[in-house]
Structure formats: C-alpha cells, structure tokens
C-alpha cells in the first residue's frame, strides 16, 4: 500500500518500451529479403540491366563487327568467350547487345501495359456499372483470342520492328494489370475514407488519382514486373519465327532460330542464346512472384 502511494505521488514510473513503429513497407521489405530466390533474381536482373546499359564497355567489338571471318563458327575460347557465329561476329558481344533488345522491349511494353491497364482498371473498379461491364467484356475478348496467333498476325501486318512488338505486347499485356488494379480499387471503393472524400464533394477523378491509385501501388508494381517476362517471351517467340526484330539487330529469339540450324555441329550457337533467354525470363518472373508474395502474403503460392 505504501509502495503504491509512493509511486502515485512522487516517482514517475517509466512506461514499458513501446514497440518501435514500423511501416508496412518495412514488413514488405522483410518478407521480400527473406525470399532468397527473389533476391537472387533481383540481383541477376540488375546485373543484366547494367550489362545492357554499359554494353560497349563490356565487349571490345560491336554486335555487328565481322572482324573474325577466318574464325567463323569457332568454338568458345579465351579470346571469344562464347565463340564466333556463322557470319564471323563475336557471339559474346551479340548476346550482351541482345540483352538491350530483350530488356528494352520488356520494360517499355510493361510501361505501355500500365498506361492502358491502370486507368481502365481503376475506372472500372471505381465507377462500376456499365463501364465495368464493358471493360470486363473487353478483357474477356482478349482472353479468348490466342495471344500468340493474334500477335503473329499483327506482326505480319505491321512487318515487325521494335515498336510494333512493344505495342503488340502491350495490347495483350494490359489486361493482367487491369484485373489486378480493378480488384484492389473495388475492395477500397466503399472504405470510410473514400466515402468521406465523396461526401466532401471530391470528383471521381480526384478520388481515383489521390486516394485509390496511391492505395493500389502494390498491385501496380506486381503487374508491372510480371508484364516484363511476358513481353520478353513474346518478342523472343516472334523473333524466333522470323517476324520480330529484324537482323542484324541482335535478338536472342532470332539467334536461337539461327543456332538451331548449326546445332548438330556447333552447339554454342544454340546453347548461349537459349541460356541467356531462360535466365532473364526466369529472373524477371521470380522477382515478380517474390514481390507479389511480399506485398500480399495471402496470395503466396498462387
């Protein structure tokens, strides 16, 4: 009793240490770094991007320099790490410069997918009703048409080329972003703070732009990262069939196609571009999966 009164009157009792406040972003980061595969693929992707940007500093020869005609089809050696291709070009330079094409198309197609899918998804989720119905029917349309066959057709009509491929990839990539954003916006639409904003007289544009899109950052990032490998796959597939990126621009898909013809005697022509493509696409999709699990642990393993 005396102790209690003492403490009440005189000495201030220290409150127990409050647990440090940590942002959701911190936990996301923790979950992400706990996923070793995702971290590793993030690093691999970063290295590949740096390689693509600084390609001229990595390889001495340009991708189209034919200075090795005597060494045509030579196997890998200390001088030519990945050997020499059928036209006497250093294969390592071509692979490195091929990363520019592959990653460039992947990233820009993902940007365009976001540009189409984000506003459509946000508007469909928030406005609902007829707009939502029409958008979902368009999404359904794109899920019924086999993307590769349609892309093949479109690529022939447009005669290939870098930008045509970027646009085609975006045309079939936006729907995933749209669905992800729509689901998130729809679940936020009836939250109190949105109602409050509406009661204060905020316009739908204001609500979508200032409240809903900032709250949809995680599906947006996930959609963006997952769109990259899809676009790279499409580019490689079209180039493999000879209607994508046109030679002499180096593209891994195209190199695999050429390498197939030499495969029986010169294995390096097929193995290196195949490995480069597989590693890059694998890294991009593992990174996307890791980010998705980190942002929303309830989705893990789907």
């Amino acid at each position: 009793m005396t102790e209690l009164s003492q403490s009440q009157s005189g000495v201030r009792i220290e409150a127990p240490d409050a647990p440090p406040q940590r942002s959701p972003l911190y936990f996301t980061w923790r979950r992400f770094t706990a996923n070793k595969a995702a971290v590793a693929s993030g690093i691999v992707l970063l290295v590949l991007i740096l390689m693509a940007i600084f390609a001229p500093f990595i390889t001495a020869s340009g991708p189209n320099d034919q200075t090795f005609l005597t060494a045509r089809l030579a196997f890998p050696s200390a001088q030519h790490w990945f050997g020499v291709d059928d036209l006497g070009r250093d294969f390592f330079s071509r692979i490195v410069y091929g990363a520019r094409v592959s990653l460039g198309i992947g990233l820009s197609a993902a940007c365009f997918s976001l540009l189409i899918g984000l506003p459509l998804g946000a508007m469909a989720g928030y406005l609902g009703g007829r707009f939502d119905w029409v958008t979902m029917r368009i999404v359904e349309l794109f899920s019924v048409v086999p993307p590769l066959l349609a892309a093949l057709l479109l690529a022939t009509v447009t005669h290939g080329g870098l930008w045509a491929i970027v646009l085609i990839a975006a045309l079939f990539g936006w729907k995933d972003v749209c669905i992800l954003v729509r689901a998130q916006v729809k679940s936020f639409r009836e939250k109190e703070f949105i109602r409050a904003a509406r009661a204060l007289g905020a316009s739908p544009w204001h609500i979508i732009w200032r409240h809903l899109i900032p709250n949809s950052v995680s599906p947006i990032i996930v959609g963006f990262v997952l769109a990259i490998p899809l676009a790279m796959m499409l580019e490689a597939s079209l180039s493999f069939l000879g209607i994508g990126v046109q030679p002499p621009t180096p593209s891994w898909g195209q190199m695999i196609n050429v390498g197939m013809n030499f495969m029986f005697f010169y294995w390096h022509m097929a193995v290196f571009p195949t490995a480069a493509l597989a590693v890059t696409i694998l890294a991009a999709s593992l990174l996307g999966d890791g980010l998705r699990d980190a942002f929303d642990p309830t989705l893990k393993g789907r």
């Binding site: 979902m136 066959l149 093949l152 493509l277 694998l282 593992l286 393993g301």
Partner: protein
C-alpha cells in the same frame, strides 16, 4: 442454374461474334486484293466482273454475313496453298498430328504434375517441394522453343537416343510429346500444390483430425475432393491450348500439324486458312471457358450464381 448457364452462354456468344468481327476486319485491313499481284494486270471490266462473281463488290457487312453463314455450315472456303481441297478438309487432316502429340503430352504431363504438386504439398519444405517449385517455375517461364532446343540437344545430338525431328514412326514422337508435356506438368504441379495446401489449412481438416480420422482418409476423401475443383476447371482450356498445336513445338520438330499450317498460312498470305484457324481456335477457347465455368459452378455449390464467376 439454368439461368446462369443461359447467361454465360449468351455472353460467350456475344464475345465470339465480336471476336469474329475483329478478325474479319483485321483480314480486310491487310493491303492488297486477290487480283493485284497477277503477272498480267486484268482489264478493269473483267476484274470488276470477277469481284462481283466472288461477292467482293458487296458492302463489308454483307460479306461478313455471307462468310459467317458459310461458317455455320463448316464451309470456310478453299485454301490458296492447296486449291484441291477445302479449308475444313485441310484442318481436319492437319489436326491429327497435333491432337496425337498434344493430347499425349497433356495426358502424360497433367497426372505427373498433379502427383508432383500433391506430394510437394504433403511434404512441405522437403527436397521434393523444392524440386516441384523449380519444375513449375521453369516450365511456366522458359519458352517452349527453348525447352525443345534443350531436348533436341541432349537426347538427339549428344546422347543420340532419338531422331531430332520429323513425323512418321512413333520413335519420332517422343521428343515433341516431352516438349508438349512441359506446360501441363508445370501448371498442374503449381495448381495441385497450392490447392492441396489451401485445403489442408482449412478448419474442417482440424475437425476431422480431432474426430480421429486417419490421415489417409482425410487426404483422399476430403482434402483431394476439395482441391480437385480448380484442377478440373483448368483442364479444358489447357486441352484446347495444347491440342490445337503449338507453333513452336511443330516448327522445332518439323511436325505437319495445325501450328505449322498456321505459320505457313501467314507466310503465304493464305487468308481463308488463316481466318478459319483463328476463328476455330477462338471458338474452342470460348466453349472451353464456358464449360469450365459451368463445371466450376456445378462442382462448387458455394459459388454465388448471381454474380460473375471470377
């Protein structure tokens, strides 16, 4: 239920009609007409007479209706690349290799994938689980033509066990079937793992354990039946995707299937064949999605029939 089926059917029908219009317009937007590339230019009056004979002078909507009328009778016209037969006949005989290879790939890949995914879910974080994750990630991310290249390199070039390509004796089917099996194997491994895990974590499993049921009965009578629903519903779309032939597998292994004909129809600007293939494959996708939606609703009575199935 009937109401739900009717509404889904109507919605799919509308989707299909819109797809057919888009494909039709796309074909018509390709520059050049049937009499432009001839070595001797036709006089204008003959050309216009020919166009009238073929119905090409009619307005676009009438041409579309005429075409679709033919489609309802499975009349897709005559392919430019082999005028001796009809498009339908060509598709039917080209489908055989795709159906054999793709079908067996699916029938081998899907059960293996289910087995792998199931054991991975039951032995979580064991080496088998990691193998299953690796297989499903690799199979879903690495393009099919890369897998095919590796298969040819390993089994045909280095080990010399099988021929590299071709169509004919069953020995040549092994590699393409393996390539076809990769995607269903990976997809099913992933789906089976996640849906079995999902079902295992449900409260009803705890109740069953508390009741004293054996693990085996819990697994086979309760968990698997719940986990099977998503796996049943993805089967049909996957079957359509695989059994209509992969352009890449058929290009890599030189198989004269539907995919190969699709590529050649684009190369040779064979519009009737190209259009028929696009329409047929889209129609089959429409039907498979419709059927799996209905199956899903039938198998899972908890689903709300008034809302959209997502």
């Amino acid at each position: 239920m009937l109401n739900f089926i009717a509404r889904r059917t109507a919605s799919m029908l509308v989707t299909f009609i819109v797809v057919s219009i888009v494909i039709f317009l796309m074909m018509h937007s390709i520059p050049g007409g049937p009499f432009d590339g001839l070595e001797m230019p036709l006089p204008d009056d003959i050309k216009s007479k020919l166009m009238a004979q073929l119905g090409l002078d009619k307005p676009l909507w009438e041409q579309y209706l005429r075409y679709m009328w033919g489609v309802t009778h499975f009349d897709f016209g005559v392919p430019y690349q082999s005028p001796g037969e009809t498009v339908m006949g060509l598709i039917l005989h080209a489908w055989v290799p795709s159906l054999i290879l793709g079908g067996s790939g699916l029938l081998i890949g899907a059960p293996l994938g289910i087995l792998l995914g199931m054991t991975a879910a039951l032995r979580r974080n064991s080496w088998l689980d990691y193998v299953a994750s690796a297989v499903s990630t690799l199979g879903l991310t690495v393009p099919v033509f890369v897998i095919s290249t590796l298969l040819i390199l390993v089994f045909a070039v280095w080990l010399k066990w099988t021929p590299a390509s071709g169509w004919g004796e069953p020995k040549r089917w092994i590699l393409p079937i393996m390539a076809y099996a990769a995607v269903p194997l990976a997809t099913y491994a992933r789906y089976a793992r996640s849906s079995v895990l999902d079902a295992l974590n449900k409260p009803f499993v705890t109740v069953l354990r508390a009741k004293g049921l054996s693990e085996r009965r819990i697994l086979f009578q309760h968990v698997l039946r719940n986990a099977a629903i998503p796996m049943v519903t993805i089967f049909l779309p996957m079957f359509v995707g695989i059994a209509t032939g992969s352009i890449f597998v058929e290009a890599m292994f030189r198989v004269p299937g539907l995919g190969a004909y699709f590529v050649s129809s684009i190369d040779k600007r064979d519009y009737p064949l190209e259009m028929a293939l696009m329409l047929l494959i889209s129609a089959m996708f429409c039907i498979s999605y419709l059927v799996s939606d209905i199956l899903y609703a039938l198998l899972n009575p908890r689903i709300r029939l008034d809302g959209d199935v997502e």
